[in-house]
Amino acid sequence: MRAGFGILGFALVFGFVPWAGATVHDQLFKGSFDIPADQPASVNAAARFLTQATFGPTQADINYLMAQGYGEWIDEQLAKPATLGEPTVEAVVNARTAGGQKVNNTQRLNRWFWQAVYAPDQLRQRMAYALSQIFVVSDQSSSISQYVVPLTQYGDMLAQAAFLPYGQVLLNVTYHPMMGRYLNAYHNVKATFVGSVQTTSPDENYAREVMQLFSIGLIMRHPDFSPVLTNPLDPESTIPTYDQGVITQNAKVFTGFTWSDAPQGSGPPNYSGASFYGGGLTFAAQYAPMACWGTELFPATGTGSGNMRHDITTKAVLGYGGVGTTNTIPANQTCAQDVTDELSIIATHPNVAPFISRQLIQRFVTSNPSPAYIARISAVFNTAGNDLGDVVKAILIDTEARNPPALPATTGSCSTGNCDAYGKLREPVLSLTAMWRAFNAKAPAPDQYGEIAMIGYGGFLGNFGQAPYESPTVFNFYLPDYQQPGVFADSNLYSPELQITNESTSYTTSNTYYQFTANAYQGMTNPRTDRPLIDLSSLTVNSNNPAAMVGTLNTALFCGSMSTTMQATMKSMLVNLNGASAQEKAWSAIYVAMLSPEFATQR
């Protein structure tokens, strides 16, 4: 049975026309003398919000948020245009190439970190980073490792789509040639036959992961993410969302894709010059949405140059009731219609809202959102006319985000309510950007190729276990369901970022922080030119007043939440560093603070 919802209407929403914006976010500005109704309760509360919503609070942003209130601040951020990386990276790559210099992902990463620290559209950039951990592509795959410029543009695509409806994001991701190359929709072709014997079948990679990882997951879910059970008493009685048969059928949808500039030949009857495996000749062609060689371009019976690579047979794809149920995409449609149908079927599946909402909450707020929190966000997600901008706003202003539970008095067992798994381990990448922003890191001047160096001490993937667009696999750096052995696994709680935290990375991550603090501050002898230099003056000004230094640190990096025990430890350290220079006291304070368990945690 064909899916009985408004495919045509949905198709209108899709497509590559510039997004008109179904939702107009409130952009009314208040006069500066008004005190907004939702003003943060304190400067520390503002800093805490900005830790969730940006790449780290700055004093300027804290002041601005205090004046605007949460709602206005978010609405203004939702309306800010995307800061783009591709134009800069393309110019740098071209200049380096012309100058005989090697090009690699350092160029992309330098720009990415620059944007993280300095772009004004902080929430949009942060959302794009969150989406990049769901719609994963990675330069660790040899199929795209050399595509530095188009991979940068994939990030721009996510930033530009960050607040659009989910279905639009899924469509843009699906058609992007970097995703195509990463998960093999690119150059995927219909089944081939020798005589009547089928010798090949369409590639199943994208067909599987688009459902398992990008949209619905493996089992049927309630809006609060709890599994649908056939027997309420048996937690194992889950319902798979699909089976291998659906994958094989779905694989037929994602056939016929190639570079947008692959020559399409001279037209009927011979299509001479058509070259499915050609194209990709310019950067623009390498990031433009892929062309699909379906019946919109070639006759269904075409052969040779006129071979129509898309599979136009009927397809029994994902159903809404779990395994055993299907929707049908009819035969003989164009490729674009097939893809639109399939993605609208996926995007309409009841799992999408809880599956995506939960992961976004995990990236911004807490690894262990309550079912009620997820359900509230799912409701926003599913409200007609809403987009991901509405979703992220709801995530950030939710009471569970804004009002953390009090820390329990003593550590203990979660079964007695005496543990605290609220919040999350900070991602090392976000710890670094937060430090840079808190201490007004000044980037070096552009080099002769126009490149601004940010990561002179590189190797983030090895040292941190993560780096933007460098996931080891499509399963991201960590799984949303990772449970650290010990209290998390014992209590059935989740701790994604702990998956990349181990005895080895705790050292290499720390040593990376050292390189960007002790070895990168303004006023140092022989200052580095390959990384930003932080400003220690807010600490050195009080170099003979350890308590004041700790106070500065507490505000800048801890949202005022540093425990009295840690304050005493830090103060004692600074007292005992009495032989050190003011600058060494300052960088020691920042470096040791960054290694602390309290800074490692975002709560």
Partner: protein
């Protein structure tokens, strides 16, 4: 004692211990009892180590071990969409039939009609080790809940594991050796639970990963120690080892860090982080100098991540034996990029390149275990795991996710030169590779004849774990015909 092994959580619940505090220290007495209760009554003698080489992405094992005789080779080649040729058949996945000199003979099969095979030409080192009797293949193994045939499969979905063909789930099922959802324990970690009371040094986990977090090494009380293949690094501007005396700035910072790591944290993320960091500091103190002073005479291939990991394993084995840290250890190393949906037969990272890396790394490790170097060839068994083999049929330039696969075991204790394909179930032998043959699917995804637990229990028993202990660690093992495949 009888315990549920679904998770450490269930174990703790069964021990009535959930309310008695979440810290490892509070649990140690009970966990130690657990270890003692399960420990082999005959004391472990001599040193033994397992080294798990996990091939992430699903190794296309049907191109690693291929039938050589004409009839079966032709079936193979047809199902793989013909022999690959860059110009005439770029979609073909079959390897060309090699010269007869590349042929290997399955020592378990006297029939020349069915005992001839060849290995992927990228693996000449493995061919040699097979012919020398040090390498064995376990054929058509995969995750199962019990032995089944195609009719069982089609009759009831309860007859086969959940989420077949999914990387993450099938990886978990291999690392658990238990095809059930909701499990958090790995079989290596549970072996560690049993074996570690025999290890002299309680600080060093019996499970050591050179490849990051993994489920395989998580036990009830065992948490893997995670190292880098680069060895141990110093902590910048801190004491190495810690603490250091005096009033230097380094010492002052170091004291502050240690004070914070030793604090108790009510937030579990802070607590989890500090526990890991503290463990890192303790083990750096224990191992750093010794590991830096441990050298090997074997040259490992460069530019080979797996070889670098195995080199660190070899050093750790040498150091552990020399310092008597342990009598039983379980190591974990990995290789990725096996998910070759495209570019399987061509390009710089094709299957041949991966198998070259694998074969050269394993060969170097075997050499390093030799009498002139670490001298532990009979004490160490290396084995592969990978979540599934792949479709025999091509998708045009690669293969998709399959099920039953082929694994390798290498070591002085391995009864090599043989294929092990009979687990006592209804499917046995090297599978019929015709598409839609009785026990495979339309694209040549094989129903396994051997359960992961049979493979794992064989290795566990070599480590000294008893059959009854195996029946606890592998709850479904008794449903299979053989609890030991006999390859080691």
């Amino acid at each position: 004692m009888s315990i549920s092994r679904n998770s450490r959580r269930d174990f703790l619940r069964n021990m009535g211990c959930l309310a008695c505090g979440g810290t490892a220290a509070a649990l140690l007495p009970q966990l130690h009892m657990m270890g003692t209760a399960l420990a082999n009554t005959s004391a472990a003698t001599g040193y033994k180590a397992l080294v798990c080489v996990y091939l992430y992405g699903g190794n296309d094992a049907w191109n690693m071990l291929v039938p050589f005789d004409t009839a079966r080779y032709n079936t193979y080649a047809t199902s793989r969409s013909g022999v690959y040729n860059a110009t005439t058949n770029p979609g073909g996945l079959a390897l060309p039939l090699p010269a007869a000199s590349a042929k290997i003979i399955d020592g378990n099969d006297p029939s020349s009609a069915t005992n001839q095979y060849f290995l992927h030409p990228a693996m000449p080192e493995m061919t040699t080790l097979f012919n020398q009797g040090h390498l064995a293949f376990v054929v058509n193994a995969g995750s199962l809940v019990k032995p089944i045939t195609m009719s069982d499969y089609t009759a009831n979905s309860a007859n086969y594991p959940a989420q077949l063909f999914s990387h993450a789930d099938q990886t978990n099922q291999w690392q658990q050796a238990f095809a059930q959802q909701g499990v958090t324990l790995g079989w290596g970690g549970q072996c560690g639970d049993v074996l570690k009371p025999g290890n002299t040094n309680a600080q060093l986990s019996p499970c050591i990963s050179i490849a990051g977090a993994n489920r395989f090494q998580v036990g009830i009380s065992t948490i893997p120690y995670q190292m880098s293949s680069g060895g141990l690094t110093n902590l910048s501007a801190m004491c190495n080892p810690t603490p250091c005396n005096g009033v230097s700035s380094t010492s002052v910072r170091d004291n502050a860090l240690n004070a914070m790591l030793q604090e108790t944290y009510t937030n579990d993320f802070a607590g989890g982080y500090s526990a890991i960091f503290q463990r890192g500091r303790d083990l750096n103190n224990l191992l750093s100098a010794g590991l830096a002073g441990t050298t090997l005479s074997t040259t490992f291939p460069t530019g080979n991540s797996l070889a670098a990991q195995l080199q660190t394993v070899a050093k750790m084995i040498k150091l552990s034996v020399a310092q008597n840290y342990a009598t039983r250890q379980i190591y974990f190393v990995t290789m990725g990029s096996f998910d070759l949906h495209s570019g399987m037969m061509s390009g710089t990272n094709d299957h041949a390149a991966l198998l070259t890396t694998l074969s050269q790394a394993l060969n170097a490790f075997w050499t390093s275990m030799g009498p002139s170097d670490v001298n532990a060839q009979n004490n160490v068994t290396v084995f592969t795991m990978s979540e599934f083999a792949r479709t025999l049929q091509s998708n045009g330039s690669g293969s998709d996710h399959g099920w039953g696969t082929v694994q390798m075991a290498l070591g002085g204790g391995v009864h090599g030169g043989k294929l092990y394909s009979n687990g006592g179930g209804p499917i046995s032998g090297f599978p019929n590779q015709a598409l839609n043959a009785p026990n495979n699917f339309s694209r040549g995804q094989m129903i396994p004849g051997i359960g992961v637990e049979q493979y794992a229990a064989t290795l566990a028993q070599w480590m000294g774990i008893s059959v009854s202990q195996c029946n606890t660690i592998f709850p479904n093992l008794t449903k299979f015909g053989a609890n030991n495949l006999g390859f080691v």
